[in-house]
Each structure stands twice: as C-alpha cells, then as structure tokens.
C-alpha cells in the first residue's frame, strides 16, 4: 500500500519580515491595553462565586475566613486582607490556586473542572442592609 503525501514548496517563506513584524507589534499593543483595563476598576466589596451560571454565594471581603461549599468538593476559598483566593482544590491542574488573590471587579479566578468562577462585585448597591430573595 502506498500513501500519497503532498509536499509544500516553502523555500520562499521567510521566518519574519517587516510587514508581519508590524502586525505582531499591533497585536501586542492591543493585548496589553486590554490587560490594563481591569486594573483601573474599583476594589470590590464582595466576591461572587458561581457554579455554572448560578450564583452559589456572595462573600464579603471585609471579613477574613475560609469557605467551602457543597457544590465544589475539595475546594477551599480564603478571604484575607480584602481579597479572595483559592487555597485548596481537587482539580488536577491547580490553575485556580496559582491565580493568586483577586480583589478588583474584572478580576476572576476560575476552576474549570469544578465549574467554579469567582468574580468581584463592587459596592454600588451595598448601602442596602438586606436583600429579600
């Protein structure tokens, strides 16, 4: 049995040229710009933890403590110094743990295998004492 393969004539293709360098630099600038946008956001008042698109809990960032939830087995969320981080997780990667602590709206910690997403919500309406659900 013979397999037919097609070869490309790539002799003319260069490693890099001026036009492409410009394109890449532009892309870098755009990406860096997007990177700095969250940093301008306010420090949030509370962290929202979601399982899928359902909010599981809202945790105030003012009080230090550890939290666990039945939806996320093996995960521990820790609040300290006005920021929240994942200190323990049952996932294989531990990407969520390596994200570090977040405290501003726009910042996120995500654990895909556990379907957990932590976001920060700012205090626009936290002059409310309670919310009835």
């Amino acid at each position: 049995m013979k397999t037919v393969v097609t070869a490309m004539e790539n002799k003319e293709r260069k490693v890099i040229n001026k036009r492409d360098t410009i394109i890449i630099v532009l892309i870098i600038i755009i990406a860096l710009a997007c990177l700095f946008i969250p940093k301008l956001a306010d420090r949030g008042g509370c962290a929202v933890i979601k399982c899928g698109d359902e909010a599981v809990a809202e945790i105030s960032l003012d009080k230090d403590g550890d939290y666990t939830f039945p939806e996320f087995e093996g995960m521990i969320f820790t609040v300290a110094d006005g920021a929240i981080s994942v200190t323990e997780s049952s996932c294989g990667d531990h990407t969520c743990m390596r994200t570090g602590a977040i405290s501003r709206s726009g910042e996120v910690i995500v654990c895909v295998p556990n379907k957990a997403a932590v976001t920060i919500e700012s205090k626009e309406q936290s002059d409310l004492d309670v919310v009835l659900k």
Binding site: C46, E54, L128, D129, V130, V131, K133
Partner: protein, 321 residues
C-alpha cells in the same frame, strides 16, 4: 439539581463605614451561615456583639436542627419539641385570624412532590388525592404526621432572634434568612434599606424599602421550583388542590413593624398566604393596617400600601391602582 439560590447579601459595608456608624464603644459582629436551607447573613452592632452573635447562632442552629433541612420530619421523632408546638400554636392563631391555606401538617405532600430533594417529580392524581385525605385540615398533628414548617420556619427564627436581641444592648442588627429578615433597632444614620428582588430578573431589584425596625418576608414562585414536561412547578403547595400554587402574583412582600408580637412568623405566614390567594384578594390585604404589602403580578403591575417602598424604574414593573 434543586434550583439553589442564596440571597444577595449586600450588608457587607466596609469596616471603616461600620465603625463610624456604630459608635465608638460598640463593636460589630458579622456572621454568615447555611441555615434553614438557605444562605443566612447577620450583623449585630452593639455592646458585646460577639457574644450576642454566638448566642444567636446557637439558637438558630438548634432551630435549624429541629426543622431539619427540608422541613419535613415525623412528629414522632421529637415529640416534646418546644419549637414545634410553639410554632404550630402561633400558626393556628394566625390561621384563625387571617384565613386558612398554610398547613404545617402537610409534610407528606411535600415529600410526595419531593420539592426539596434533588429529584422532584410530578405525582399521580391519585397519589395526590390520597395524600390530601391524610392531612388534617386544622394544623393539628399526631405522632405519625409528617410536618413541614417551610412556610413559617424562617419567620419564626426571626422572632426568636428578636427575643434574644431585646435582652441585649444591641443598637441595631440585621438578620437575613433569605426570604425572611429582621431589621432590629435603630441605625445611627437613617432608616434600614431593604432590597426586594425582581422576580423576573436575577440579581436585579423590584425596588427598595426604607423602613424602621421591622420583620420583612417575601414569597414567590421564582426562588425555588422545578420543571417537568415543560411546565414550571413552584415549591409552594396549595392545600386545596394538592398541587403547586397557580397564582397570578409573581412576588409578595409583607412588612410587619418589629414591635408586633410574633411579627416574624406573621410576615412569613402572610406573604405565603397572600401569594397563594392571588390578585383577587389583594384589596382585602391592602386594607389591613397592622402590616404593609408589596405585591407584583404577572402583568408587570405592582400593588403597594408601603409608604417606604421605592419602585425601581428599570424593574419592568409599574404601579397599579
């Protein structure tokens, strides 16, 4: 999976703000927990607030254990439970005064529907009728009756919180148990502000209530329900039919002044009862002076006799009447 939503607790004011608003010699205690099948959040501001918080947490934990996670249990298991008899007695008084429709002896029906479990199902007509016959009409129960205090448990817990707080030197406190809350005492810089969830939009408000100390409870079909065959079944059961309530109201909120005796269970009881009865009976309820009502119906209309209620313009609802 049960549609589990925790209340949006926004009472997390920054520590600095709290310190300035509480008073120099006072302290603030804050606690969050899973109680009564929901996310609860409490703030106590006053002398020895930490101790008060500990006592309150203990009381609530005991109550929670009594009422159990899905509020159904056999009376035989805790025959002398004071919470049961107390709660039942008050519920009966309320029923006498305001009308029947809430029945704490309906545990078997709740279990039949399995609403609080992860796998609710629609029972057969025959099963429903059979179960209905077993349930006594008048909130009475024997040792073998299955009880369900779901309609009143949180309100009752708020009452117990109130009782505790009156024995302490607490300036103000907020006790939030999801659909029932207690706003106690007096805030130094104004009235309490309570948000009412928009039944149609998650994480959005129907409006804000500005009020002095009060018990506030909300009932609605949007919070916990399950879907089967394309139909949505709410978790509130109609005792007449045995089926989940079909009403043209989407949300009912009842505000009872804090000084009212058993105001908590009253607000919880009434919010459920008014919800069940629909817009047809609203005039009657709006006429009562001892409590205030905010009701939203499925046509986007809001009825309210609450002077402190501020409707949110973006809620999609507008005033009727």
């Amino acid at each position: 999976m049960a549609n589990f939503r925790f209340s949006r607790i926004t009472a997390a004011v920054s520590a600095l703000f709290m310190l300035t608003s509480c008073g120099k010699t006072d302290s603030i205690a804050e606690n969050s927990d899973f109680l009564f099948d929901t996310y609860s959040h409490m703030i106590i501001c006053g002398s020895n607030s930490e101790e008060t918080m500990k006592a309150l947490t203990q009381i609530h934990a005991d109550l929670d254990a009594s009422f159990k996670l899905c509020y159904t249990t056999e009376a035989i298991k805790l025959p002398n439970d004071e919470a049961y008899s107390d709660c039942t007695a008050i519920t009966n008084e309320l029923a006498d005064k305001y009308g029947t429709g809430i029945n704490i002896a309906c545990g078997e029906l709740t279990e039949l529907w399995g609403i609080s479990t992860t796998d609710p199902t629609v029972p057969t007509e025959r099963d429903i009728l059979e179960t209905l016959t077993k349930i006594p009409d008048d909130n009475s129960y024997t040792e073998t009756t299955m009880l369900d205090f779901g309609a009143v448990a949180k309100g009752y817990a708020c009452d117990k919180a109130y009782e505790l707080l009156t024995t302490t030197e607490t300036d103000y406190a907020t006790v939030s148990l999801g659909s029932s809350t207690l706003l106690y005492g007096e805030k130094p810089n104004g009235k309490f502000r309570a948000g009412v969830t928009n039944p149609d939009k998650e994480n959005s408000y129907l409006g804000i209530i500005e009020t002095d100390a009060a018990f506030i409870s909300t009932s609605g079909g949007y919070e916990r329900f399950f879907e089967a065959d394309g139909k949505r079944y709410s978790h509130i059961l109609d005792m007449e039919t045995g089926y989940p309530v079909e009403t043209d109201l989407t949300s009912v909120t009842v505000i009872v002044p804090a000084e009212t005796a058993d105001g908590g269970i009253m607000s919880d009881f009434l919010s459920t009862l008014i919800y069940i009865q629909g817009t047809a009976q609203l005039d009657k309820w709006l006429a009562y002076e001892e409590f205030e009502v905010i009701a939203a119906d499925e046509n986007g209309v809001v009825y309210s006799d609450c002077s402190g209620f501020i409707l949110d313009e973006n809620s999609g609802y507008s005033y009727g009447k």
